[in-house]
Amino acid sequence: MATFIQRIQQIRPGRTKKVVQTLEQAGSPGAVSGPRKIETLPLDMAPNDPLVAYFLSAPGAVEIEKLNLDSPALKGLKATGVQVVIPLVSQGELVGLLNLGPRMSEQDYSTDDRTLLNDLATQAAPALRVAQLVREKQAQDLERERIEQELRVARLIQQTLLPKEQPELSGWHISRYYQPARAVGGDFYDFLYFDDGRLGIVIGDVTDKGVPAALVMATTRSILRSTAHASSSPGKVLEQTNDLLHPDIPPKMFVTCLYAILDPVSGRLEYANAGHDLPYRNHDGIVSELRATGMPLGLMPGMSYEEKEVVLAPGDSVLFYSDGLVEAHNQVRDMFGFPHLMKLLEVKTNSMSTIDYLLAELAEFTGPDWEQEDDVTLVTLGRDTSRADNTKGSISDASVENGEASFAGASTQNHNQWHTLAEWVIPSEPGNERQAISRVAETVKELHLSQKRLDELKTAVAEATMNAMEHGNHYQPDTPVIVQVLASASSVAVRITDQGQGPAVFRAQMPDLEAKLEEMQSPRGWGLFLIEHLVDEMNITRNDSHHTIELIMNLDSEGGSHVNQKS
């Protein structure tokens, strides 16, 4: 008798079942001779094939020739010469078929034969199922090991390329947190250090997970690092990175990325965004998004990226983050979400670090058994409340010929804590100092300065702004002057920052009116002289790319006396 043992292997749940037939010609029942011929015949049997339903509904031996079903599998069986099939059913599932060809005696199968075969099927079905489960388990173990190995590689790539240390900037505090999901998403962040003291901050997310995402992350990081050192414009850097990345990135993959450049002296933060989650800035408890538009990297070439800037005042902070935080779900599948994140930042009053605070809130939101769905990356940038540290050592060459001005830059150390009242930028065009006057006057209205003091402050602001526009920015309209107004309990300060390079050469010589009237000295050169006599304190700080004049006026001072003393 020929015995066909058919093994059904489920390739994918709900998909076509691959049926492999094994032909064992073992002679008639009771024969003692061993297998004489083994032949494997593959047979596809779809789960919705009517034959499957028939076998499940009619246990026991089935005479194939008597069946009339519109079944591809039935046709296949008939084509192989199968006469009788005994379905192997285990726990309601068809796990195999015992297929018999014609008896070698050419007689029909007897009732005893069928009974014997049915008994055999009853024993064989669970055994076959166990064998299948063992084999499936082995295959799953191998697949799991392969995935684990891949994840180890992905983690290694990412962790090797992420910064080992966080930047240490005087007057600033920077923190980062990175927790990959088990599947290792494509999050990354980076810090770039420029010779002029500026700091580049990158945060990004590659679509996909595992090794492919890690490789794209590594490529993106390398391109970004290369282009960032060739251009000081965040928008241009993203544009070039996109054009270089696009030809090599696998189909359907892309990278969201935000790139910001911080000038730690002025607090100016320039940024451009390639489709990444918008950072949040916290300014005096008011949280706002730092918006800039741009397509993700790698999607299409020739993209341009909007460039924005903001000046971070003392006490300000910025949160950069990835979608692993905002897209985390709790047990009822609610999403953490942007509004929730924004609200948390607004109401934060405790002394915890922002990262610890947000992680605690995330843990509370997701519950204890949360399986992290995606990488969570957080980078925080905060400016210290006091800028005293920020000015140390940054003004060594800002000496003054006559020593009259205070260039120590240490003034604000002596005052109470400062808070920012307003800040804005002014294009460097002649006459625009009037904008500064107007805005400052409006801003300090709440401080109730006397008219005399207000007029003095306005003129000092005008002169400092003119200096910045003329000497620092050479009246280039697209090079703005940054104006910040701060207040403490006892003073008001106005900081005016240009984009000038080199030493602070605001004044060529001390104005000497007699010499000017004799035309032995230029009639100009009054700006700094006036400022010194109009405010209570003036400081100048600089680095390689900026000068900042700080004007301080004491709120309880009547002013004027210093004029008499110095004039």
Binding site: Q435, A462, E463, M466, P523
Partner: protein, 126 residues
């Protein structure tokens, strides 16, 4: 805030020229100021009075222009006077010591009254 360009009118009286200034004295004011001054000195006035009563902004460049006019006046032995300055710009003239070289008066009348070479303008001071 929009800026006001400078306008100037010159009134001549015997030996006195009065330059009425309107607007802002900044870098844009140079031509107007020089033209007005040239007009003022064209009739051999001994005294030239700058009337700042309608001037609301003077910056350091404007101060430099005034210094230039003062130097020009000293060269030609003319007296340059100022009137109508706000309290703040009187302070600026003090800081820069311009007051040491040009007398500053509250208004046109007082300026002309206190200068023996000047004849009082019959027009009411603005």
């Amino acid at each position: 805030m929009s800026t006001r360009s400078l306008e100037a009118q010159v009134r001549h009286q015997p030996r006195v020229a009065i330059i009425d200034l309107h607007g802002e004295i900044n870098s844009f004011a140079e031509d107007v100021l020089n033209t007005a001054y040239a007009e003022a000195e064209s009739r051999e006035s001994d005294v030239i009075l700058l009337n700042f009563s309608d001037v609301d902004y003077i910056n350091s460049t404007g101060i430099a222009l005034i210094v230039s006019l003062l130097a020009r006046a000293r060269k030609t032995k003319r007296r340059l006077l100022a009137c109508g300055l706000s309290q703040h710009y009187v302070e600026i003239f003090q800081i820069t010591r311009l007051v040491d070289f040009m007398s500053v008066y509250p208004d046109e009348t007082s300026a002309l009254n206190e200068n023996p070479t000047a004849i009082i303008d019959k027009r009411p001071a603005s």
